[in-house]
Symmetry: C2
Subunit: 302 residues, 2 copies
């Protein structure tokens, strides 16, 4: 039987590997770490990189927290018990270079205990990509890599989790997806997957270990491209959509704000700079318009 | 008896006066207007100014919309009828100059009809100020002007509405107010105020007409001050807090997004540029720290 301590330990290892991998890919930026404790119980290791060669601002955060659930969340889960434990690794990277995509990854484990005869536990997570400019070959590469990871565990995972990401990373008020999606999953347990806990845990770690090779490749494909002020301006506008999604819709951000999470760790997902230009419409036939046309649900990239 | 048509007409006049007054104060920027219609009924006149002498981005919007309320909002109001009418003028101005404050004003009227024997109508609104740097004399001037307007109608208005603004414009996850507050009020009707409908309508217009003289004075007091990169950087950070408030807490923004409002008009409140720097802490004794210390509820400015 896997314990929560084992999961937290594996996630810390993955955090270490990812930070080392990103420093290697960037070549200049270094993570700085802050250890923090949560008033209600537990804590984390926030690691931030700023002003690297390509990585303008990013965080690779580990946390393992426990305590009492707020009433609103208990109600949403339909439980009467209120002890929870949650651990995970969360990443958001905002690159400086507009041809390198924004990336987000999260792997997490959650459990509620204390209710007689009933224990709720699950794994959740995902990886998704938000290119400022959608490049078809890169999107295909990204989705294929995710599919490979999923296929090693269950053949319907990729299709299900890809659709889940399309639906989740959707900016309803703009009628556009945040980026080109990826995979998103939640509440994975033996009942919902048909796999045993060990396999689900292995899957969670495999998702975590997909991050570095995939993102390193995307950096290396794009880092030598040239760009100009139009590209930068568009990047700042795409980042403002990222802000809108995270503050209006993102469940992780909401959960963090409602459970008195550490604000700077939760909001490290926000970009170093974002611009809002009133009613901006890209020119017909432009690269920017082409990208907007690809921010739709249901595109089959593989 | 005042009709909703009279209210909408008066609000349009106020929109005209405010746009003329702001163009005068800026000296260079001109508003451009877009007329729009809402699918569910009604429409508006969005007026945007960009790249003025001092006014980097701002909107002075009039709308008068009607239609059916979404279920979630009906539930929140505890009504079974679902026909609504809403009209108002909304302003947010983001100045380029870091010593000129961000300002927000809203005057609005809302009614629900159709439920047998019961009609819900009320006025709401307010003005509040978000200085990038809090200047005590300006804060006193601003609050005194609001108090003067309030006092002409009812002696307890200022005290009540000032506290309401402190409580409303509060960024809970940062434990700081959005700015130095002002006045905020909602659901004003004869029952809640002891005034007749005519007087409440007069109050609403008086609030609208307080805007131009007050903001013009604040521009003129600060526009010739010098500033440097540190001031600009801080301004971008304060703007990011403005974004957080509007997307996470603001009821008007939520109502707009949930009732399929016109996105560009709702989100014109967002700044042209906002920056998030990880865990920024101002130096001890700096102007920035001094401002942070004044972003608290309950300061008596008059």
């Amino acid at each position: 039987m896997i314990t929560k301590e084992q999961i937290a330990e594996a996630y810390q290892e993955i955090q270490d590997e990812i930070c080392a991998g990103l420093e290697r890919a960037d070549g200049k930026g270094k993570f700085r770490e802050e250890l923090w404790e949560r008033d209600g119980g537990g804590g984390g290791r926030t690691r931030i990189i700023q002003n690297g060669s390509f990585l303008e601002k990013g965080g690779v955060n580990f946390s393992a927290v426990h305590g009492k659930l707020p009433d609103a969340i208990k109600k949403a889960f339909g439980v009467s018990t209120d002890d929870f434990f949650a651990t995970g690794v969360s990443i958001v990277i905002h690159p400086d270079h507009p041809w390198i995509p924004i990336i987000h990854m999260n792997i997490r484990y959650f459990e509620m205990t204390g209710e007689a005869g009933r224990e709720l536990r699950w794994f959740g997570g995902g990886i998704d990509l938000t290119p400022h400019y959608v490049i078809k070959e890169d999107a295909q590469f990204f989705h294929s890599a995710l599919k490979d990871t999923c296929d090693r565990f269950k053949l319907d995972f990729y299709t299900k989790f890809k659709k889940w990401a399309d639906d989740y990373f959707f900016i309803k008020h703009r009628n556009e997806t945040r980026g080109i999606g990826g995979i998103f999953y939640d509440r994975l347990n033996p009942e919902s997957t048909g796999l045993d806990w060990e396999s689900i845990f292995e899957f969670s770690k495999a998702v975590g270990r997909t991050f570095v090779p995939v993102y390193s490749e995307l950096i290396s494909r794009n880092k030598d491209k040239t760009y100009n002020d139009i590209h930068k301006d568009w990047q700042y506008q795409r980042r403002s959509r990222y802000v809108e999604f995270n503050l209006v819709y993102d469940a992780g951000t909401k959960f963090g704000l409602e459970t008195n999470g550490r604000i700077e760790s939760i909001l490290m997902s926000l970009p170093p700079q974002a611009n809002w230009t009133y009613d901006f419409k890209p020119d017909t036939g432009s690269e920017e318009e082409n990208t907007l046309n690809l921010l739709k649900k249901g595109i089959n990239w593989v």
